[in-house]
C-alpha cells in the first residue's frame, strides 16, 4: 500500500500550534477562577456574633467602606501609585540614558545598576529599617555627628518612621530603589532599538540635548514608557513589603489586608479590601491599555 502523506488544513495547524499552551492556560484560568470566586464569596459573607456565616451579606463591604483605616489606606495607596510610578519612570529613564551612552567601564556600571534587583525586597526594607531607626539608626547618628567624617547637623534624633509623610516617603524610596533596574532595562531596550543615526541627523540639524530628548527619544520610546508605566503602577498598587516594614501604622491596601486577616481575624473585610485592590488593578490595566492604543495611533500617525 502506497504511503499517503497526512494533510492538515491551516486552521487545524493553528489549533495544533496552540495545543502545548493548553495545560498552562487551564492552570492559570482555573487558579484565577478559584481564587476570585473564593474572594467574592468571602467578601459577601458575614460572621455574626454567634459565629454563624451569613451569605450573601453586604455587612463586610459596609464595614470596610465606612472605616477610616480603609479610607486612609486607599489614599496612601493612590499616593504611592501616583508618586511612585512617575518616579520609577524618571529614575529608570535617567539611568537608561546614562548607560546608553558609550563610556569607559559602561558594562560594569550597568551591572551595578542591576544589583538592587538581586537583593530580596525584605532585605532592602530591613536595611532601610536599620538605617532610619529611632533613636539609634545610622542616619540619625550620621546627622548628629557620631561618625567622625561628618559634622553634626542635628541635636536630637528624628523619628523617621513615626512621621506619616517621612515613613511613607522612606518606604516609597526603598521601593523605587529596589525596582528601578526593571524600568531601566525596559527603557534601555527601547533606546537600543533607535537607530543612532537619528540622533546624529538631529544633531547636524541643530538639535541640542533637550530637543533630541523630547523630539526624538521620548516619542520613539513611548511604547517602552507605556510598558513601564503599566507594569510599575500595577506593582505600586499591590505593594506590601516596604510599607509593611517601614511605614508603621500608615497602611496601604496591601498591608491593610494582612492586618485585617491576621491581626483582626476578619477574613470577610480582608477579602473586601483584596477585591477593591483587584478592581483598582483591573481598572488601571484597562485605562493603560486604552492609553497605549491611543499612543500607538498617535505615534503611527504623527
Amino acid at each position: 500500500m502506497a504511503f499517503k502523506p497526512f494533510k492538515i488544513t491551516p486552521s487545524a495547524r493553528r489549533l495544533l500550534e496552540l495545543w502545548p499552551l493548553f495545560p498552562a492556560a487551564v492552570y492559570l484560568i482555573g487558579f484565577l477562577i478559584v481564587v476570585v470566586s473564593y474572594l467574592f464569596a468571602l467578601s459577601f459573607s458575614f460572621a455574626d456574633e454567634h459565629g454563624v456565616t451569613i451569605f450573601p451579606s453586604f455587612e463586610s463591604l459596609r464595614a470596610v467602606f465606612a472605616a477610616p483605616e480603609f479610607n486612609s489606606a486607599f489614599v496612601n495607596t493612590i499616593a504611592f501609585v501616583a508618586v511612585g510610578t512617575p518616579l520609577e519612570l524618571i529614575v529608570g529613564l535617567a539611568l537608561a540614558l546614562l548607560v546608553y551612552r558609550s563610556f569607559h567601564l559602561r558594562n560594569i556600571v550597568r551591572s551595578i545598576f542591576i544589583i538592587p534587583l538581586a537583593i530580596p525586597a525584605l532585605v532592602t526594607a530591613t536595611m532601610l529599617f536599620i538605617l532610619f531607626d529611632f533613636p539609634g539608626g545610622h542616619i540619625n547618628h550620621l546627622l548628629m555627628g557620631k561618625y567622625c567624617f561628618l559634622p553634626a547637623v542635628l541635636h536630637n534624633p528624628i523619628n523617621w518612621r513615626g512621621v506619616k509623610l517621612l515613613a511613607l516617603g522612606i518606604a516609597l524610596a526603598g521601593k523605587v530603589w529596589r525596582d528601578m533596574p526593571i524600568s531601566m532595562l525596559i527603557l534601555l531596550a527601547g533606546l537600543n532599538a533607535i537607530d543612532p543615526e537619528l540622533f546624529d541627523a538631529a544633531k547636524t540639524m541643530g538639535a541640542g540635548l533637550r530637543q533630541r530628548l523630547w523630539r526624538i527619544v521620548v516619542p520613539l520610546i513611548l511604547p517602552s514608557i507605556s510598558t513601564v508605566v503599566l507594569l510599575r503602577s500595577l506593582e505600586m498598587w499591590k505593594e506590601f513589603i516596604f510599607p509593611f516594614i517601614l511605614a508603621g501604622q500608615n497602611n496601604l491596601l496591601g498591608t491593610l489586608i494582612e492586618i485585617l486577616y491576621n491581626n483582626w481575624g476578619n477574613a470577610g473585610e480582608a477579602a473586601v479590601v483584596s477585591l477593591t485592590l483587584v478592581v483598582c488593578i483591573v481598572v488601571t490595566a484597562l485605562v493603560y491599555l486604552v492609553f497605549i492604543e491611543f499612543v500607538k495611533k498617535l505615534t503611527a500617525r504623527r
Binding site: 543615526e197 546624529d200 541643530g206 541640542g208 504623527r302
Partner: protein
C-alpha cells in the same frame, strides 16, 4: 557656500589610526567625492567634518574659520546618511521642517522653503506620509530635501544611494547632479562606488587605509592614476598588473615582462627616464588591450603579444576574456560581442603604449614625472 580645508588630520580608535595625516581642500561650490573601500576612513572623515566625531590632531577650516571645537549642532552643515535617518514618527512634512523648527525659522519662510523643497524633489502629495509609507527613492529625496531646506554652507552625503537598486541609483545620480547645479552648494560625497564618484564629482579624493591616494578630477584619476591602489581601484574590469624591468631596447623604451617587451609611447618614455633599469609594476586596463582582428591600424607604440583565451564573461555590450600568456601571466581584455574567439585558442592582441601605467614597487607610486 563655503570651502572646506582639512589640514594634517589624524584620527585613531583605540590607538589604531584610521586617518593618518590627511590634508585636502574642497573649493566653495565644488562636488567632491571621498572614494575608497570599506574601512578606508571616508565616513569617519565626513563625520569629523560634520562634528559627529572628534579630530585627534590637525585642523578643520570651513570658510576660513577653524571648526575643530564647534559642536555639530552649531555648524552650518547638513548631512544625508546612508540609512537616510528619517524620523520614523514624523511625516514627510515634519521631517523636512524639523531643522527649520529647531532653528526657529519664521513660519512664513518655513512654508516657503518647504514648498520649494517638495517641488524640487517631486514630493508633492506625500507630505502627510510616514517614512515607512514611501519608497526607498522617495525617502532618499526626503532626506535630501530635509538637508537642503536648512540652506547649509556644506552638504555632506554619506553613501546616500547605496540602498537603492541599480535603476533608481542612475536616476538619483542625475537628480543629485541637477540639484548641485541648481543650488550650487559645496558637496562632499562619500561612496565606495566608483561609478557614482566618476559620474557626479568635480574631483575625487581616493582614500585607502586612512591615506589620501589621489585627489583629482575623475578623468585624471582614471587616465593618470598616481598610485598602485588608485590604478587597481578605479576602472571596471580592474587593471591588469605585471612585473617587469624598465629598459631601453634600440630606440624604444619599455618594460621587459614575461609576456614580452611592452613599448611605451614617446611621451611616457620621456617621463620615466629617471627610473630606467629599475624593477617596476606595469598596469594595463583591459580596455587598452585590443584583439588584433578588429584593430587593423596599429600604432608604432603598440605592443603585439600572443595569449591563450581561457574564460569568457559576458558584460552585455562586450565580453571579458581571461587569457594566459607566457610565464603563466593572466591578462584580462575586452572584445566586441561579434568577435569570434574560441576557448583554448591562441589569440593575437596588442597593448596600447599610450595607456600604460608604470609604478615603483617600493613606493607604490607612479614613476611618471
Amino acid at each position: 557656500m563655503a570651502d572646506v580645508a582639512l589640514s594634517h588630520i589624524y584620527k585613531s580608535y583605540d590607538g589604531n589610526p584610521v586617518i593618518a595625516d590627511l590634508s585636502l581642500t574642497v573649493k566653495s561650490g565644488e562636488f567632491v567625492t571621498l572614494l575608497g573601500p570599506s574601512g578606508c576612513g571616508k565616513s569617519t572623515m565626513l563625520r569629523m567634518i560634520a562634528g559627529l566625531e572628534s579630530i585627534d590632531k590637525g585642523d578643520l577650516y570651513i570658510a576660513g574659520r577653524r571648526y575643530n571645537d564647534i559642536p555639530a549642532q552649531k555648524r552650518r552643515l547638513a548631512m544625508v546618511f546612508q540609512s537616510y535617518a528619517l524620523f520614523p514618527h514624523m511625516s514627510v512634512r515634519e521631517n523636512i521642517l524639523f531643522g527649520l523648527k529647531i532653528n526657529k525659522v519664521a513660519p512664513a519662510l518655513m512654508e516657503e522653503k518647504f514648498t520649494w523643497a517638495i517641488a524640487l524633489f517631486g514630493l508633492t502629495g506625500l507630505e502627510r506620509r510616514l517614512p515607512k509609507e514611501i519608497s526607498g527613492g522617495q525617502r532618499q529625496r526626503v532626506a535630501l530635501a530635509r538637508a537642503l531646506v536648512l540652506d547649509p554652507d556644506v552638504l555632506l552625503l554619506d553613501e546616500p544611494l547605496s540602498n537603492l537598486d541599480a535603476a533608481l541609483r542612475e536616476s538619483a545620480m542625475e537628480e543629485l547632479k541637477r540639484v548641485h547645479r541648481s543650488v550650487g552648494k559645496t558637496i562632499i560625497y562619500v561612496t565606495h562606488n566608483q561609478v557614482e564618484a566618476m559620474s557626479m564629482s568635480g574631483r575625487i579624493a581616493v582614500l585607502a587605509g586612512g591615506n589620501l591616494e589621489q585627489f583629482a578630477a575623475p578623468q585624471a584619476v582614471y587616465d593618470d592614476p598616481q598610485t598602485l591602489f588608485t590604478a587597481g581601484f578605479i576602472g571596471s574590469p580592474p587593471m591588469n598588473f605585471l612585473t617587469g624591468l624598465l629598459q631601453t631596447r634600440g630606440t624604444e623604451t619599455g618594460i621587459a615582462t614575461e609576456v614580452g617587451f611592452i613599448i611605451l609611447d614617446k611621451e611616457r618614455q620621456v617621463r620615466c627616464v629617471a627610473s630606467l633599469g629599475k624593477k617596476v609594476i606595469v598596469g594595463i586596463r583591459p580596455q587598452n588591450i585590443s584583439y588584433t582582428d578588429h584593430f587593423s591600424a596599429r600604432r608604432v607604440s603598440d605592443t603585439s603579444i600572443t595569449l591563450k583565451a581561457e574564460l569568457f564573461e559576458t558584460l552585455g555590450d562586450r565580453n571579458l576574456v581571461v587569457a594566459r600568456g607566457a610565464g603563466d601571466t593572466v591578462l584580462r581584455f575586452l572584445m566586441k560581442q561579434d568577435d569570434d574567439i574560441l576557448p583554448d585558442r591562441q589569440v593575437g592582441v596588442f597593448i596600447d603604449g599610450r595607456k600604460i601605467h608604470v609604478f615603483d614597487p617600493d613606493t607604490r607610486k607612479s614613476i611618471f614625472k
